[in-house]
Symmetry: C2
Subunit: 165 residues, 2 copies
Amino acid sequence: MTITLRPEPLTSESFAPYGDVIEAAAGREAAMNAGRFERFDDLCVVDPGDDGRVAVGIVRCRLATELPYPLNLVERHPLGSQAFIPLTPCRMLVVVAPPGDTVAAADLRAFASNGHQGVNYRPGTWHMPLIAFDPGQEFLVIDRAGEEANCDEHRLEERVVLVAD
Amino acid sequence: MTITLRPEPLTSESFAPYGDVIEAAAGREAAMNAGRFERFDDLCVVDPGDDGRVAVGIVRCRLATELPYPLNLVERHPLGSQAFIPLTPCRMLVVVAPPGDTVAAADLRAFASNGHQGVNYRPGTWHMPLIAFDPGQEFLVIDRAGEEANCDEHRLEERVVLVAD
């Protein structure tokens, strides 16, 4: 049996069990710098854990992913949150499952961004490793740095295929 | 007397007294996700202070700045670092002075980014409030959230003008 994952639209509400959607949402802006800018504050919960620190990196796509995409494993970072924000607008597809000791394929959900959104996985949220569709596409990463191991992988037993939205 | 500030190129070395340059610099990459991506780790020191937390926001330009630009004041955030990363590639002009109780106009330095760089001001670094040259241009902001006041302004006595690089 093959489980087909078709992305639903990424919204703060639908993604709430897994983390935050990072976006400049209308209605939440405030003025700053004498009206030169509008600001959208506090878009995600950055959680490096008790003994971690917040790290900022950039990741750049080398190999584009094509759809349909067979999903073999998911991963989680139990000790800290992890955010990805596109550094040029791009559609993101993410697959997530709630925090927990195991992952049931039936619990997987896929989301498609609108091109101007990033995501922040809360600690422990299972997620598909990052994919992108254009070589050179860059993402800013905000996550946890620390000495302890902070990445668990779960290999999916079922056959799961991510398709276009 | 007018002090003319002409930007110099933004590099990690030249900007080191003030903070970090956030960029995917050649030679520092490592592979991840089975070679699908290259990653550039730990690009800045995120410092929310002892009792602050790290906040992520987006700011969007409403009023474009034109050059030459008369610079009337600089500001600093004594309790935490503050990073700005363009969410679409764009040239950034920044003006900074070293941390300290006062700011001498002679200590101001201007830097121009290459379009693919962000900056992270370390706590206390004096800097020009953010400017941008295109309405709609967005920047991600990573800084400190907390209850304490964390923005000092210093009005420049001298006449200072920022010009193109």
